[in-house]
């Protein structure tokens, strides 16, 4: 990217989101934000804080609690010349608006023979760990990655949050940005000004020689911890953050596996039917002869997200559960 990356400061993930939205509103006059409590309250997790004051009520809109209406508004506004940012407070609420996401937003361009353009950015938040129980803690990216017409990104760091949101907004396609509620306070370097991160390119966050972990979203941080722990066993782990799930950067993972011969995929979503299955299927197909062990997967067990902290703690994958699975795979 041509943009100069200016003055990196240490900021939390939540502020990086905020800066990204500010940049987008500055960059595009036809951009605005709609969602529940995004304006007056600045978002329930504060990532739109201050934007109503800065941009005024013509750019920041509180909506009724009407998720289907909100996404539909984004579809209609985008098809007619706007570049909306729509906020879906919790990813769990995709159930309320899956028709607008799956049948309208994702498909309109194709159904119309390419004669509609839908530059919609949808910000939504997933993840367990906050004792919010079964309806406010899910990671449902598998639903949307299965839908041709959408792009899906999952920022893991403040840097990525800002860059990927800006890239999402600049893209002429609908892009769903899956944020993570437990990452909001994570600190990291964030340049001032506008910059983008190319969609569809994975980030090799840690180089390694004999084991690869692909970690989605917040699991990146657990994977990095696991990689440290695995050093003890003489394992030199490469950790890849796909950044974009759709389109997925298979090549980077294949290249890594050609080198390391072993792959573990980690996500917070329920393991069964999760996006990890797609990655595993692709890699065993494209790197079959390089694999010295089956592709492993770590994900949530097969239950709804439990409320009790005692249960949630063992429900959500962690560095420890990653290490345990890695050792199984590696026969250690």
């Amino acid at each position: 990217m041509a943009e100069a990356l200016e003055k990196p400061r240490t900021l939390p993930y939540v502020s990086a989101i905020n800066e990204a939205v500010r940049e987008v509103l500055n960059e595009y006059d036809n951009s605005f934000v709609v969602g529940e409590d995004v304006a007056g309250a600045g978002g329930v997790y504060g990532y739109y804080h201050g934007l109503l004051d800065e941009f005024g009520p013509e750019r920041m809109y509180d909506t009724p609690i009407s998720e289907e209406g909100i996404i539909g508004l984004g579809v209609g506004a985008a098809a007619t010349g706007c570049r909306p940012i729509v906020d879906l407070m919790f990813m769990d609420f995709m159930g309320e608006c899956m028709d607008e996401i799956a049948n309208q937003l994702a498909k309109m361009r194709y159904m119309f023979g390419g004669r509609a353009t839908l530059p919609v950015t949808m910000l939504t938040m997933g993840g367990a760990g906050a004792s919010l129980a079964a309806q406010h803690s899910q990671s449902l990216e598998a639903w949307i990655c299965h839908l041709p017409g959408l792009k899906v990104v999952m920022p893991t760091t403040p840097y990525d949050a800002k860059g990927l949101i800006i890239s999402a907004a600049r893209d002429d396609n609908p892009v769903i940005v899956c944020l993570n509620k437990m990452s909001l306070a994570i600190q990291g370097e964030v340049p001032e000004g506008s910059y983008s991160i190319p969609l569809g390119e994975a980030n090799v966050v840690r180089q390694g020689s004999n084991f690869t972990i692909v970690a989605l979203g917040r699991m990146l941080h657990e994977a990095l911890k696991a990689a440290e722990q695995l050093k003890e066993f003489g394992i030199d782990t490469e950790v890849i953050d796909p950044r974009t799930l759709q389109p997925f950067d298979t090549a980077t993972v294949v290249n890594s596996v050609r080198k390391t011969h072993r792959l573990l995929i980690v996500h917070e979503a329920v393991r069964f039917g999760g996006f990890g299955g797609e990655i595993a299927a692709q890699i065993q197909e494209q790197a079959f002869d390089y694999l010295d062990a089956p592709v492993g997967r770590v994900g949530a067990p097969f239950s709804p997200v439990p409320f009790s902290p005692a249960l949630e703690a063992i429900y959500v994958p962690s560095a420890d559960s990653i290490v345990a699975e890695a050792r199984k795979l590696l026969g250690l």
Partner: protein, 323 residues
């Protein structure tokens, strides 16, 4: 009332209705002959609604449509050739053959597509209305939807948002008394869908949907309100479809009586318009016939265009998924 309406406008409405009628009758026959694949939902009988509304609009005013969308597109200026081509699944269709009857669209004409999802249109129309207000145009958007669709949550959310933001949106309910095979009395406990308007804080208006002039006038008021920043209106048009929910079969259907069909056919929107035009000395019976003939020829030319158009190429399958 109709005195203020110019002859031009009346003739325009009439011609649009005839265009829909002949297109639809022809499409129905082609479907019966197995020439049009998939599901075809005919608009015959309801022409006054689309045309009475659409004659107020420019290409910069947006509409959303339904599964029963050919009439809306024709009334908005759709061309027979590219419409038939779409219905035939040809690459020359408005959607390159990828959409078909349930997704015919033309954004250049301000037509945001037929929609296979009942209730799919209203939220999108609200988006278009939001866009008009945001971009400070004087344009409106219209959401056509059925009595059946008025029971979808999507309609409710859209109506509430339109009223809240005072958007230039008109919700035009085409109440034809049925959602598929279910009569209105079996899908809602109200008689007038317009009764829902007050629950959103917008006016609800009921109009005879077989009378194009009545529709024209009521729509005109609603559109004027919208253009003036006074917010949305729910306009319910009582109308009827002559043929089956999908496909053609008209009489002898078990879920409605032949008498009922006959009653509504006795109030045919085109017949009524032609009687009015003849009475007012604007269009003689003979001139009307000439229009029917002319349109028939245009429709035939459209069919020929479609039939002689190529199928989409295999390569096109994966095109147009992304921008």
């Amino acid at each position: 009332m109709s005195k203020q309406i110019s002859d031009e406008v009346l003739l325009d409405i009439h011609r649009r209705m005839v265009r829909i009628r002949i297109f639809e009758e022809t499409a129905g026959k082609l479907a019966e002959d197995g020439k049009i694949p998939g599901a075809l939902h005919l608009y015959v009988g309801e022409e006054a609604v689309a045309c009475g509304v659409m004659v107020h609009l420019s290409n910069k005013d947006w509409i959303t449509s339904t599964h029963r969308g050919h009439g809306h597109l024709i009334a908005k200026g759709g061309e027979f050739d590219r419409m038939f081509a779409e219905l035939f699944g040809r690459s020359t269709g408005y959607c390159k053959g990828k959409g078909g009857s349930m997704h015919v669209s033309n954004l250049d004409l301000g037509m945001l597509g037929a929609n296979g999802i009942v209730g799919g249109g209203p939220p999108i129309a609200v988006g278009a209305g939001f866009s008009n207000k945001f971009r400070k145009t004087k344009n409106v958007s219209i959401s056509f939807f059925g009595d059946g669709a008025s029971n979808e949550g999507a309609f409710h959310e859209a109506a509430n948002m339109a009223a809240l933001y005072k958007l230039p949106v008109i919700f035009v309910c085409e109440n034809n008394g049925y959602g598929e095979y279910t009569p209105q009395a079996n899908h809602q406990a109200i008689v007038d869908v317009a009764d829902r308007a007050s629950g959103y804080g917008m006016p609800g208006v009921i109009v005879d949907g077989m009378d194009a002039v009545a529709v024209y006038e009521a729509a005109g008021e609603a559109i004027e309100r919208a253009r003036n920043g006074e917010g949305p209106t729910l306009l319910e048009c009582k109308t009827y479809r002559y043929y089956d929910h999908v496909g053609v079969r008209g009489m002898g259907m078990t879920y409605r009586t032949d008498e009922e069909v006959e009653y509504w056919k006795g109030r045919d929107p085109i017949d009524m318009m032609e009687a009015r035009l003849a009475e007012q000395g604007i269009l003689s019976k003979k001139d009307a016939e000439a229009i029917h003939e002319e349109v028939t020829k245009q429709v035939q030319a459209g069919v020929e265009f479609a039939e002689s158009s190529p199928m989409p190429t295999p390569e096109s399958l994966l095109e147009d998924v992304y921008a």
